[in-house]
């Protein structure tokens, strides 16, 4: 096993999330909003979708040295599962489920003559003699097989659930939605995985890399940026916001001054400047970043740090305002009158009562961070160009829209994956806000 920096942080984040869940379950005042969340089909459905993404991202976060390669190459669990897609590279573009290359090239016929035509792909539909006639039939047959297999597995699972607990088998709506989402995602992925042995399910890109593989690898980048940034900014925002609101006076002035200063620099420009500086640093300290993956990983981490620095001010301001309100509450005054130390008041009485704001804003920020990654990568101040990310996919596919016929599949793939993740995150965020915001549940 080899642990990259972001891998470690991803695992830490997972632990933190688990702890948070256990903490929330033990708190009486959170029972009602949690129950509301569990009862909502939209919330549970989008949560299941997010969890499937998270699982893929987690699989991609466990790296080890490749056994078969002499080079200093790192592969992840996801890479192992997708060995077919990873190794089946063509020379250039090919459409989804194509047997022939997308571009014409000079070919040599069986009689030695050369002609201008479409070459057969090296790794797609190689088992077919006459792809023109057999391809559709083969794809359909394999799809039916794959889908039947996955549905059989789901059927067995549902049967088991029914057998073990027959009276409660008729699930509430929300649990049924979760089953539905997992079935759809699971069978969809299994279908793609089975077909990826013989075809390029989503085609190949300019250098012949499988687009489905790129899209799957991009999931981790999106999740890391969405989650780690939060992890970076949370301590700042929480501590400074509460301190400013609770102590007022010069502490408040100072903290307000700091966040107004940071806020006043347009965030894109601050990110651009910082990334430029990181590039200069890396260029001059090349020996520390000899491995391509390590280098890309460091840049991803820096990006999360910088995004965190630019994005904590909003939450900080919200927390300050809420703390200002809370410190005038009777129970805080009572604690003060009883001589409880300020630190204890902050920890016991203020912190638990601002947690819903933290939760809501963390979930709300996630989707905008995933979207921001794509935009930043487009301006070349996002993740490393060698990192798989939706932004990089869009960036490299953008110019191909001017071609005739259009190369649409890299864009479409990144669009579908990104849209699904962001939509799920947005739906979940709305539900979380409805459940936890006291103003909305009146």
């Amino acid at each position: 096993m080899v642990w990259l920096w972001t891998d470690v942080l991803v695992v830490l984040l997972l632990l933190a999330a688990l702890l948070m869940v256990f903490y929330m379950r033990s708190q009486a005042h959170l029972k009602r909003p949690l129950a509301k969340l569990v009862a909502s089909p939209i919330a549970m459905g989008s949560f299941a979708l997010l969890m499937s993404f998270a699982l893929i991202g987690l699989m991609d976060s466990l790296h080890f040295k490749a056994a078969d390669s002499q080079r200093n190459e790192l592969v992840s669990l996801l890479d192992l599962a997708c060995t077919n897609m990873r190794t089946h590279t063509e020379t250039s573009y090919s459409a989804p489920f194509a047997a022939y290359a997308f571009n014409k090239q000079m070919l040599t016929g069986s009689d030695g003559s050369t002609y201008w035509g479409f070459a057969r792909l090296q790794h797609a539909a190689t088992h077919l003699q006459v792809p023109e006639q057999q391809l559709l039939e083969d794809v359909l047959w394999q799809s039916v097989q794959a889908l039947l297999q996955s549905f059989a597995v789901v059927g067995v699972l549902i049967g088991l659930a029914k057998y073990s607990n027959p009276r409660r088998f008729w699930f509430p709506d929300s649990i049924r939605t979760v089953w539905l989402v997992f079935t759809l995602i699971g069978s969809g992925l299994y279908w793609m995985w089975v077909l990826s042995h013989d075809y390029h399910v989503l085609g190949t890109d300019k250098v012949g890399e499988d687009v489905l593989y790129q899209a799957l690898k991009s999931i981790r980048t999106g999740l890391v940026i969405g989650c780690l940034t939060t992890l970076v900014m949370l301590p700042f925002a929480l501590m400074l916001g509460i301190l400013a609101g609770f102590f007022k006076g010069w502490i408040d002035d100072l903290i307000q001054f700091v966040y107004t200063t940071l806020n006043s620099i347009p965030s894109v420009l601050l990110i651009a400047a910082s990334i430029l500086m990181v590039q200069v640093y890396m260029a001059n300290h090349g020996e520390d970043f000899n491995n391509l993956l390590v280098r890309a990983d460091m840049r991803l981490l820096f990006l999360c740090l910088i995004l965190g620095v630019t994005s904590w001010t909003g939450l900080c301001r919200l927390l300050r305002a809420e703390t200002l309100k809370l410190r005038e509450m009777e129970y805080v005054m009572a604690a003060q009158a009883l001589g409880v130390r300020p630190g204890m008041i902050l920890f016991r009485h203020i912190l638990p009562n601002v947690m819903h704001i933290v939760l809501i804003s963390v979930v709300l920020d996630f989707s905008s961070l995933v979207l921001a990654e794509a935009a930043l990568s487009y301006i070349n101040i996002g993740v490393d160009p060698t990192t798989h990310s939706w932004g990089n996919m869009i960036n490299s596919a953008r110019l191909e829209m001017a071609r005739e016929p259009v190369v649409w599949w890299p864009l479409m793939a990144s669009f579908v994956f990104m849209f699904t993740l962001v939509l799920a995150a947005n739906l979940f965020a709305d539900q979380v806000r409805d459940a936890f915001d006291p103003r909305r549940s009146a």
Binding site: T261, L276, G286, I379, L411, L423, L427
Partner: protein, 325 residues
């Protein structure tokens, strides 16, 4: 009033100083000018001579904070900090790393940015507010539910896809407008239609939801119930009462970004090749032109702080409940 304004302006000064110091630290302390020179010159093994030439050419061959070789005040002025950072205060941006005068570039390029950003903002406001009012009018019906679903979907699409799809559909397939470019005067209009339209559409999702939440907050207030009890119809309530009262947060939200409109939008301008400040910044980032990026960071902060002051002023002008203190 005058005293209040004066105090707001005075508060801006330490903010600007802090921004200035921050940019100085970011650009000159994290990496020395030697590092930048090596990066710019490109090769792995650069001679010391080449580095010092580059530094001399771009005025980086001075000490950072104190110049011991000079006498008197010049000990402080003949330094990188004074030459490159303090001069930003009087908008003397100096020469870019590629040898152009940044100040004149900026004054030339901010107008195309404004020509794109101002119509986008105004049209966006109009569309978002009217849509939000419509949704609030149909609240607690099936229409609202559908509208909310559509808004979440619109919000979940990356702005890059709006641009790419718009360019592809309108400019390439239908050929209604040119794909990209810019022209001075009225002939530039045909280049601006598509980017303005796209920035309005891509802003609908988040924008309408924001205005809707503002309106919903007002709709539940007591004065609205009173108005309804008096027998006013729903349209009159929405326009005369809700919109008027919600216009205070709307106004302050708009005023704060007004000065920043000069900076333009990085992504829109580069997709549509509009020669504004946004594409200027992107070019600078891609060429790794530190002087331009530094100037833009400072300029952006100045404009934002100016926007904050404007917001305070507009607050006191519009809302009689706000007292000046």
């Amino acid at each position: 009033m005058l005293q209040y304004l004066l105090r707001r302006f005075l508060y801006a000064i330490p903010l600007l100083i802090a921004v200035n110091i921050l940019t100085f630290v970011l650009f000159f302390v994290v990496n020395s000018p030697d590092d930048m020179a090596r990066m710019q010159l490109g090769q792995k093994r650069v001679t010391e001579q080449a580095i010092s030439n580059w530094k001399h050419q771009h005025g980086y061959d001075l000490p950072l904070l104190i110049n011991h070789e000079q006498q008197g005040v010049r000990q402080l002025t003949e330094t990188i900090f004074y030459q490159k950072s303090v001069n930003l205060f009087w908008f003397d941006f100096g020469i870019s790393d590629s040898g152009r005068n940044i100040g004149s570039d900026i004054s030339q390029r901010m107008w195309p940015s404004l020509a794109l950003a101002l119509p986008s903002l105004l049209l966006g406001l109009l569309v978002n507010i009217s849509l939000a009012l419509m949704i609030v009018f149909y609240r607690a019906t099936r229409t609202e539910l559908t509208a909310n679903v559509v808004l979440v979907v619109l919000m979940s699409v990356s702005s890059l896809f709006y641009i790419i799809a718009g360019q592809f559909l309108i400019a390439r397939v239908l050929r209604w407008v040119p794909i990209s470019g810019y022209d001075l005067g009225w002939s530039g209009l045909k280049f601006l239609v598509l980017p303005v339209m796209i920035s309005v559409i891509s802003g609908i999702g988040a924008g309408v939801r924001w205005y809707r939440s503002l309106f919903l907050e007002e709709v539940e207030r007591d004065y609205v119930r009173t108005a309804r009890a008096k027998g006013l119809n729903e349209t009159a309530i929405l326009f005369k009462h809700v919109l008027r009262n919600a216009s205070i947060p709307i106004l302050t939200g708009v005023v704060v970004i007004l000065p920043l409109l000069f900076m333009g939008s990085l992504i829109m301008e580069s997709f549509f090749s509009i020669p504004g400040l946004g594409s200027y910044t992107i070019d600078a980032i891609n060429r790794q032109d530190f002087a331009i990026v530094r100037s833009m960071v400072f300029l952006g902060s100045v404009l934002y702080i100016f926007g904050l002051i404007l917001t305070d002023i507009s607050y006191t002008l519009v809302d009689p409940r706000v007292r000046l203190n």
